[in-house]
Subunit: 500 residues, 2 copies
C-alpha cells in the first residue's frame, strides 16, 4: 500500500489532487468500526435510516456548486451534465430511504399455521467500488451506497483515483451529514489506494461487495471475494456492448434515429456503461454514412476521464479494424490532456461472430454500424453477442411488426433492459428499473444496482419459529410497528408508505 493516489485534470493532464493510501492499520480501524456500526444499524428502523439519507441528500444539495466544480475539474464531463447528475443523486438518495420505509425489501411474512415469522436482516459492512464515469450517481455516494445504508448496512467506499478530490470531499460531506442526523460512527467511511481496495475485499468484516466499472476490474474483485475464507456476494456491474436494432419498417425514420444515436453514443465522450456500441440497420439504407454525417455535424472532440481510457479508445479502434471493421469517420483526439477520437465504424455482418473483438466493449465515443439483409442473419448476430445491460429496438408501433417482437424476444434472453424507440442511456431510479444483466454484464443477474430492488442485495432472510412476539426484531412483530409491506397467512398487507 505504497502508491500515492493521484487525480488529474483530463483537459490538461495536470495533477489535481494526491493523497496517501489508507494504511493497513487504518483500514483495520475502518472495517472494525464499520462492524461495530453494523450491529447498531441492524437494530434501527427504516424510518431512522431514511432520516439519515434525507440529511445526506440535503447536504449534497447544499454543496452542489462546490461539488460540480470539483467533479468537472477531475472528469471534464461538463458542469451542465454534472449538475443534472448530482440532482439525480440527491433524488435517488431520498428514494432509497423511502423504499426502506415501505419495507418490501424485508420480506416480512407470517404463517400462523406453523408459527413462522420471516424478516430479512442487513448483511453487515458493504464495500462499494464506484464508477469513473458517473462520479455522483454511481460514485462513492451513489446508488450502491444509498441502497446499502437504506438496507441497514454500513458502507466502506473505495475512493476513485480519477476523481480523488471529489471522493474525499463527498466522504467529508457524507460522514458529517450522517453524524449530524444521528447515524453511528462507522456508518460511512472512505478508503484510498489501489492495494487498499484489494485489502478491503479481503477484510473479514466486509460482508458484500458492490462494484461498477470494467469487466477486468469486476472479475478481479469477484475472484478475490471468492478466494476469501468466507466468500461474500459480489454485485459487479461490468457492462459490455449494448446493441441497437432498427427494423426494416423502423428505417423509414432513419435520419431521426441516426441523429439520436449519435447524441446517445457520443455524449459525455461515450463514457456510459449503457452506451450503444453496435447499430444494426437494414442493408441499403446507408446507415453508416448517415451516422457519420450526424457525428460530423456535432463536431466532437472527446476528452476522456483518464489517460488509460484515452489510450484504450485507440487500442479499441485498432482491434475493431483488425477484426474486420472499417473506420467511416474519425474526429478529434488531438487536444491537450486525455484526448481521444470519436469515431463511427462499419462492419459486415459476417464479421459479427461469437468471440469476435467487435463484440467487446470500447469505452468511448466509438460505435460500429452493421447492416443486415435477412432476419436470420440479424438474429444470428444478436445471438452471438455477449449478454449486455441494455438493448434498444427502433420500430413503428402503429401496426403489426413481427420483426420487432422477434428481436425483442431474442434480446430479452441477453440483457437486463430492453428499450423500444428510445435510447439505452439514462437509467432512472424507480421500482421497475433493472440495471443488470447476465454474466458478464454483471456478476449476478439477480441483482440490480439501480431501482427499488437494489436494497435486496444487502439483506438475508431469517425465519423465527414460535418466537415470543416481543423477542422478535421490532419490524417483525405482529402489530407491525414499522408499517412495512408484509404477507400474513398468504394475504399481502401493503404498507401505507406508498413510494410512487
Amino acid at each position: 500500500m505504497t502508491a500515492v493516489a493521484t487525480s488529474y485534470s483530463p483537459r490538461t493532464g495536470d495533477r489535481v489532487r494526491s493523497a496517501a493510501p489508507t494504511t493497513q492499520s487504518q483500514l483495520v480501524t475502518i472495517t472494525t468500526t464499520a462492524a461495530t456500526a453494523a450491529a447498531v444499524l441492524t437494530g434501527t428502523s427504516p424510518a431512522e435510516r431514511r432520516r439519515w439519507l434525507y440529511a445526506l441528500a440535503d447536504a449534497l444539495e447544499a454543496y452542489t456548486e462546490e461539488l460540480v466544480t470539483l467533479a468537472d475539474l477531475e472528469t471534464a464531463l461538463g458542469s451542465q451534465r454534472l449538475t443534472v447528475e448530482l440532482g439525480r443523486t440527491i433524488s435517488q438518495t431520498r428514494f432509497y430511504g423511502d423504499v426502506a420505509v415501505e419495507g418490501s425489501y424485508l420480506g416480512v411474512a407470517i404463517d400462523d399455521a406453523i408459527g413462522l415469522t420471516r424478516m430479512s436482516r442487513p448483511l453487515g459492512p458493504v464495500a462499494v467500488f464506484g464508477a469513473s464515469n458517473f462520479p455522483f450517481v454511481l460514485g462513492v455516494v451513489g446508488h450502491d451506497t444509498s441502497a446499502a445504508i437504506a438496507a441497514g448496512c454500513p458502507v466502506v467506499a473505495k475512493a476513485h483515483d480519477a476523481h480523488l478530490g471529489l471522493s474525499l470531499r463527498l466522504a467529508e460531506i457524507t460522514t458529517t451529514a450522517l453524524a449530524g442526523a444521528g447515524a453511528p460512527v462507522g456508518t460511512y467511511a472512505l478508503a484510498v489506494g489501489f492495494d487498499t481496495g484489494v485489502a478491503l475485499v479481503k477484510a473479514p468484516e466486509i460482508t458484500a461487495l458492490a462494484f461498477t466499472g470494467s469487466e477486468r476490474g469486476g472479475r478481479a474483485l469477484w475472484q478475490a471475494a471468492n478466494e476469501r475464507e468466507i466468500p461474500i456476494p459480489v454485485y459487479a456491474e461490468m457492462g459490455t456492448v449494448n446493441p441497437v436494432v432498427v427494423t426494416r419498417a423502423g428505417a423509414a425514420d432513419l435520419d431521426t434515429i441516426t441523429d439520436g444515436f449519435v447524441s446517445c453514443y457520443a455524449a459525455s465522450a461515450g463514457q456510459y456503461c449503457s452506451k450503444p456500441g453496435l447499430f444494426f440497420a437494414p442493408a441499403g439504407t446507408g446507415a453508416a454514412a448517415r451516422v457519420a454525417a450526424a457525428l460530423e455535424a456535432t463536431g466532437p472532440n472527446p476528452t476522456m476521464l483518464t489517460e488509460a481510457i484515452a489510450k484504450s479508445v485507440r487500442t479499441g479502434l485498432d482491434g475493431f479494424t483488425r477484426a474486420g471493421a472499417r473506420i467511416v469517420l474519425e474526429l478529434g483526439g488531438h487536444a491537450p490532456g486525455w484526448s481521444a477520437p470519436a469515431a463511427i465504424l462499419e462492419a459486415p455482418i459476417s464479421a459479427v461472430t461469437e468471440g469476435s473483438r467487435l463484440l467487446e466493449e470500447c469505452f468511448g465515443a466509438v460505435a460500429i454500424v452493421v447492416e443486415y439483409t435477412t432476419a436470420e442473419e440479424l438474429h444470428a448476430a444478436l445471438r452471438a453477442m455477449q449478454p449486455a445491460l441494455v438493448a434498444a429496438v427502433w420500430a413503428p408501433t402503429d401496426g403489426p411488426d413481427v420483426e420487432a417482437s422477434a428481436v425483442i424476444d431474442i434480446l430479452a434472453a441477453k440483457v437486463g433492459r430492453v428499450v423500444l424507440n428510445g435510447w439505452t442511456t439514462g437509467a432512472g431510479h424507480s421500482w421497475a428499473q433493472n440495471h443488470g444483466g447476465p454474466w458478464p454484464a454483471t456478476s449476478n443477474a439477480a441483482g440490480t444496482s439501480i431501482g427499488g430492488a437494489a436494497l435486496n442485495r444487502f439483506v438475508r432472510p431469517i425465519a423465527y419459529q414460535t418466537v415470543r412476539d416481543d423477542w422478535l426484531p421490532e419490524g417483525a412483530r405482529r402489530s407491525n410497528p414499522w408499517a412495512v409491506t408484509r404477507r400474513v397467512n398468504g394475504v399481502i398487507e401493503p404498507s401505507p408508505h406508498v413510494v410512487p
Copy 2:
C-alpha cells in the same frame, strides 16, 4: 465417466441396484434438450406449469406404496417416516405450483412515469443435486426440482448413488407425469454417475445449480461452477452444526427438553441437515446424564444411509474426543450393514473455541452437551460457532427473560432460522420458511431451498422500457392476464390467487 453407480441395502450391505453412468454424449443430448425445453417454458404461464406440478404430485401419490418400499430398501429410513416424507413432497410439489400462480416471484412492476415494466424470466436449465438423507423431500424430485419447474426452468437432476433405484423410478414417474400433462420433452431428466455430475455443472446449457449435501460436496460444486467460462449461481445447502440453548430459567423443565432433544437428534439415525449437534445447558443441571438416560431409554441401533456415512460417524467421534469431548454413552454400531453408534458426548465450554473440531458437523446420531456457567461464556461459545441453518432456544415465555432474547439476538446473526421451545428439524414449506443461512451453512444466504421464496433463485429481472404492450411477455401486460401480484406506480395489486 466409467464408474458404474451402485446402491446398497444399508441393513445388509447387499447391492440393490446398479446403473451405467450417463455418457458424455448422452449428457449433451440431455442438456441440449433441456435448453430447447427452456425456450418453451419461458413462454408458458404459471398456471400451465402448476398443472404439470399437480399432475406430478398426483403421480407420486399414486405410486406411494412402491416408492416407499423402494426408498426404505435403499435408505433404511423406515416406511413410516418415508410415507410421511413422501406425503410432504406431494404437498410441496403442489405448493410451488400455487406460489408460481400467485406470481410474486416474477416481481412485476410498472412505473408509468418513465414507461418501465419489469418482470423476471426463468434462467434456463437447472442442475439439481439432491440429498442422501431426504430421498423424497430434498431428493431428485424434491424442493429444488419443483421450485425450478414452477419458476419455468427445466431440471436435470443428478441421481443419488445411495438411492439409485429410487432416483431412476422417480425420474420415470416424473417424466411420464410431466409429459402426460403437456410439459415439453426435456422439462425433466436424470443423469447418473459422479463424473457425470461434475460434467453437468460444466455444461454450457446449465444456468444454475441447486445442491443439498455435505460441505465438501457443496464447496466442490461451487468451485466448479465458478471455474466455468460463464459462472452460474450456486445454491448449495451444506449445513453445519445447529445449536440448542437451554436458558437457566428454561432448565426448570429439563427432563422434557432432554427427552425431546434425543427424539430430535437421534431420529432417523441423526441424518438431518437440521440435526442439533450442540446442546448448551446451565452448569449443575446434570444435562449430559439426563440426555444419556433418555438416549438409553430409546435403545438406538442406527443404520446409516451409506457405508461412508457410517464410517464418518466413527471418525467424527474420534475427532470430538481428541478435541476435548468425553463420550458419556455410546450405543449400537454393531449390526450388519451400515451400522454406526448413537452417542452423547460432553465437553467443557472452554473447548468450544473458533476452529475447534467440536464445531464441525458429525452427520449421525451424535451430539455434544456443553454446560455453561455465565451468560458471557455462553455468548462467546455461540459466537465461536460457524453459521448454521437453524438454532433452538428453550426458555419460559410467561415472564421477562433477558437471557433468551439476548441469545436469540446472537443466534439471529448466525443462522437462517431460530426456534423457540421447539426443535430444529422439520422445516415445512410455507411463505415464511427459510432453509438457509450464512456461509458455510449455504453458499448463498439470500436463497432458501424451502418455502415460497425458493422460486426466486431461478429467475432474473428484466426491465422493458416503453415497449408496446402486446410485445411484452404475456405476464407483464397491462391487463395482467396471469393475475399475478404486482406493483403499479408504487401501489401493490395483490393477486386474487391467494396461497394460504
